[in-house]
């Protein structure tokens, strides 16, 4: 699956190229694309008329919808058929079929999802949305998602057809996993190479973006429930301009979003960002837990999580008026996509946590700079003590602990949160003992509650109780004031 992420890199890198020039670990897009097969390049370089693309997309969609009725067998059947289909795909890929206008590209009868775009995706509840960490890696979920690579009349699809088909599938199902599965199969069978897979990704991304844009025109707001980096990456790199075929540097992107009426209303109702994670604590399985918590908390627009990007935050704030709502939404979505993406990359070891952290830091700085340049205004007082102070702390902590984080990947089952010890400077020995003791208590509580079948223990109640006890102990002279403060601080950081 590294290739997939390599592909993501491709997408992302183009977007972020100017921002992260110092991060050399990121692969460069040019290297990847030049190795690709001519067919894809050709498609790339050819400027196909917009109408054509739209028509193609439409027809594909129509085919998909018509294919719906002929549904459903079991997962097993669909999978075996997919294998067959895959072979066909291979053939078609290997033949380097020309691009041509595709005709009907029906999805096979055993497709199960309803591509009705006016439906569930929009009414999807917040809690189900956008959780890259939860769903992104779960391939088993998609087994009942058949793709076929045959046209109705049995002729093999062109490469272009395939790309379109995949893009449609992804769009309708709001599920990037479609692509993942197909590609992984192909790779497994050795039928495509990694670089081909990358290119394929890129192609699919483009096609998908086209789809999105087109549909966005028709509907005011669409929720794309892609829990998946690539889709977001795709959206990101396309920005708002539907006709962009080339990568744009991020400042242009932001520029576009700021200045143009955003019609690419991809509102990701992303909920689950844990603030602390912004510092690059990305190698952590506790995301799941965090994301769940985040779901419950659901701040207004999820802005809380973004507070560690003060410039971005201010930018959002400056877009507070009514007509800017869409832009705001999009900005938030994009930002969250970026963050998520970086986290994923760190999690899968593609970049080191330090790189992820520095990337995100640079991103924010870049936002500030570009905003100033483009909008001709600054985002507000350059030094807001709160967020900045926090960021600094987290900077230090993340840098110090980024290395440690990597060692801890295996131990990520434990989602206990603790205040970072580096912030407690005055009584290291004592506070560590207290920290140890509190940690043991939290661990025991979690285990105990699990055994008894209760839900997660009520942390806030415990915190209140402890605060109360600490106060009473201070009063009675059992603990010193500073110790009490330490303990309260530890609990409040949980």
């Amino acid at each position: 699956m590294a290739s997939k992420y390599a592909g993501l890199f491709v997408l992302f890198q183009l977007l972020a190229l100017s921002v992260v020039s110092q991060i050399s670990a990121f692969p460069t897009p040019t290297a990847a694309s030049t190795d690709d097969k001519p067919v894809y390049n050709r498609q790339l370089t050819e400027e196909r008329p917009v109408q054509e693309q739209i028509a193609e997309a439409d027809s594909v969609k129509a085919a998909v919808q018509s294919a719906e009725s002929r549904r459903p067998s079991s997962t097993k059947d669909s999978e075996s058929q997919q294998d067959l289909d895959d072979l066909t795909v291979l053939k078609s890929l290997a033949d380097e079929q020309k691009s041509k206008e595709s005709t009907e590209v029906p999805i096979k009868k055993d497709m199960q999802y309803v591509p009705d775009e006016s439906d569930s995706t929009k009414s999807r509840r917040l809690a189900e949305d956008y959780d890259s960490t939860k769903n992104g890696m779960d391939y088993g979920k998609y087994q009942d998602d058949p793709e076929s690579f045959r046209q109705v009349d049995g002729t093999p699809l062109t490469a272009e057809d395939i790309v379109q088909k995949i893009a449609n599938k992804i769009y309708e199902e709001d599920d990037r996993g479609v692509f993942d599965r197909i590609v992984s199969k192909l790779l497994k069978l050795g039928l495509i190479t990694d670089s081909q897979a990358e290119t394929l990704e890129y192609q699919v991304a483009e096609a998908l973006q086209d789809l999105i844009t087109k549909n966005a025109k028709n509907n005011e707001i669409e929720d794309i429930e892609s829990n998946d980096q690539e889709t977001r990456g795709e959206q990101d790199d396309k920005g708002s301009d539907t006709n962009l075929d080339t990568w744009e540097p991020p400042r242009r992107r932001y520029n576009d979003e700021e200045e143009e009426e955003e019609n690419d209303d991809v509102v990701e109702d992303e909920v689950d960002r844990d603030a602390e994670e912004e510092e690059g604590d990305t190698g952590d399985n506790t995301w799941d837990k965090d994301t769940e918590e985040g779901n419950e908390v659901r701040p207004e627009d999820g802005l809380q999580d973004l507070q560690y990007f003060p410039n971005f935050y201010r930018l959002l704030r400056s877009l507070d008026s009514e007509q800017d709502t869409q832009e705001r939404e999009t900005l938030i979505t994009i930002m969250k996509t970026l963050i998520d993406f970086v986290k994923m990359m760190v999690k899968y070891g593609t970049i080191t946590p330090e790189e992820g952290v520095s990337y995100l830091e640079n991103l924010d700085a870049m936002i500030a700079m570009q905003t100033k340049n483009k909008l001709g205004k600054s985002l507000g007082p350059p030094d807001v003590p709160g967020p900045n102070g926090k960021i600094l702390d987290e900077d230090d902590n993340t840098k110090a602990e980024a290395a440690k984080m990597q060692k801890e990947y295996e131990n990520l089952k434990d989602s206990t949160k603790e205040e970072q010890p580096s912030t407690e400077t005055n009584q290291p020995g004592k506070s560590e003992t207290y920290l140890e003791a509190i940690r043991k208590n939290i661990e025991w509580l979690k285990k105990h509650d699990k055994e008894e079948g209760k839900d997660d223990y009520d942390l806030s109640k415990l915190k209140d109780f402890m605060d109360q006890q600490v106060d009473s102990y201070i009063e009675k002279g059992i603990i010193a004031k500073d110790e009490g403060d330490t303990i309260k601080r530890i609990y409040s950081s949980l």
Partner: protein
């Protein structure tokens, strides 16, 4: 989460630093000065906040808190029917082993509880355990401040005023001996308790605090940790005739022997019959199976042990745990290992004999009712919820519950070794009985008049 793991690493580093003193898993064996003692107790509380509570019963002469760590499933509350237990150590400031053992015990009980040790869990759920590692923190500081390894036999023994706390308690032994001869109460001998204590200028603040503590909480069983020898000592400490050595049995001599043995058998040093005396010329002739009667060993007037038994319901024994009063720090681990099982086993002894509630016919609790056992000249009383715990060795007994204004009820009980046998009493008040009799009389009169037609 990232920070957590950083903490773990740092925590591990801290533990590594500290472990020069030797560790048993999670306990680090070293001496704790006052601040360290306080922090150690706070750490236990932080680790087990749902089953522990720290409180203070007062201040020492120099203002140090007399800290107690309580362990129970519902800390801070007396649950009706749940017996109260205490350990007090270091009343002689230079007798340091007991102090440390209680700190280790607190950590041990918390760790074991969380690790699912069923014995400990049951114990904590069914008992209210109070641990006071130091009754004389001032004395300890003095003793611990001595330079060098060898500590003086006396420095730090008494409190900051120079008072030997184990001779400072009101001497109730004298009173009981008089009552034995001339008749009188056989329990709760401290009359006008509060007044006597508060106005007594001879009592050290530490002594006062402990007396109030004993009055406030209905302790059932207790032990008092000392050093300088190795034996489990039981009442009475003061000899009846005033001689220096004389076996002075209490009414509960049988039970006390059983209690003392319950401690000593798990301590391999204490129960070792072949053990040489601590010092060459020591007279340990009274020691048998690691236990001794106080008076038989040597007479101690004004001690805390007898005060407990004679002023309250609490049975207390005195545990001497080390030949050396203030031994080297690196011996602490072995003292813990010698005493750990004994310490736990002794707490379990609180669940013996008979226990229950005394209520009136309406179900209301009767507090301060007397529970007397035929053949044992020592009564105990019920606590505020009408609950009582009467420690008894296995056997058949007749147990009576008496309260002023109520009719006494006597019940026969067969008592096993453990657990405690539940015996409840419903007492009929005298008024009720009179009422009953009156009604019976009326009924009879009615019947008679109907029959005889008048």
């Amino acid at each position: 989460m990232k920070p957590f793991f950083a903490v773990v690493l740092l925590g591990a580093a801290a533990v590594a630093l500290v472990s020069s003193a030797g560790t048993e898993g999670e306990i680090s064996f070293e001496y704790h000065r006052y601040e360290e003692l306080r922090k150690a107790l706070v750490s236990v509380w932080l680790q087990c906040p749902t089953i522990t509570r720290i409180y203070t019963i007062g201040e020492s002469f120099e203002g140090r808190e007399l800290l107690v760590l309580e362990m129970s499933d519902n800390p801070g509350t007396h649950e009706p029917g749940e017996p109260e237990f205490k350990y007090i150590a270091n009343m002689h400031g230079n007798e340091a082993v007991g102090r440390e053992l209680l700190i280790y015990l607190a950590q041990y009980l918390c760790n074991q509880y969380q690790q699912g040790n069923e014995t400990i869990i049951d114990l904590v759920h069914n008992t209210r355990i109070h641990l006071m590692p130091s009754m004389n923190p001032d004395g300890f500081e003095k003793a611990a401040s001595q330079p060098g390894e060898i500590k003086d036999w006396f420095v730090g023994r008494s409190n900051a005023q120079g008072v030997d706390l184990n001779r400072n308690f009101p001497d109730l032994d004298r009173i009981i001996y008089i009552n034995e001869r001339e008749g009188g109460a056989n329990n709760h001998l401290l009359q006008n308790m509060k007044k006597a204590v508060d106005e007594n200028t001879k009592l050290a603040p530490e002594t006062k605090a402990v007396i109030h503590w004993i009055m406030d909480i209905p302790f059932v069983l207790s032990a008092n940790l000392h050093g300088g020898d190795v034996v489990a000592n039981y009442p009475y400490d003061e000899t009846r005739t005033g001689s220096t050595h004389e076996y002075s049995a209490s009414p509960d001599d049988v039970m006390f022997k059983s209690l003392a043995k319950a401690y000593s058998i798990y301590n391999p040093v204490m129960s070792d019959q072949q053990r040489k005396p601590c010092r060459k010329n020591d007279d340990d002739s009274s020691f048998k199976d690691g236990i001794t009667n106080g008076g038989a060993w040597y007479s101690v007037p004004g001690g805390m042990q007898d005060f407990n038994y004679l002023s309250s319901n609490c049975f207390e024994i005195t545990l001497e745990l080390s030949c050396d009063k203030f031994p080297n720090e690196d011996t602490l681990k072995s003292y813990w290992e010698q005493n750990r099982n004994s310490l736990v086993s002794y707490i379990e002894q609180v669940h013996r004999g008979v226990k229950g509630f005394v209520r009136d016919l309406q179900g209301n609790p009767i507090s301060n009712a007397s529970i007397s056992v035929e053949g044992i000249d020592h009564d105990i009383t019920t606590a505020k919820d009408g609950d009582y715990w009467r420690l008894l060795a296995p056997g058949n007994y007749k147990v009576a519950a008496t309260a002023p204004g109520y009719l006494t009820v006597i019940k026969k009980v067969a008592v096993p070794f453990t657990p405690a046998t539940r015996v409840d009493f419903e007492l009929e008040s005298l008024m009720e009985r009179k009422e009953e009799e009156r009604e019976e009389l009326m009924d009879w009169w009615k019947m008679m008049s109907e029959t005889l037609n008048f």
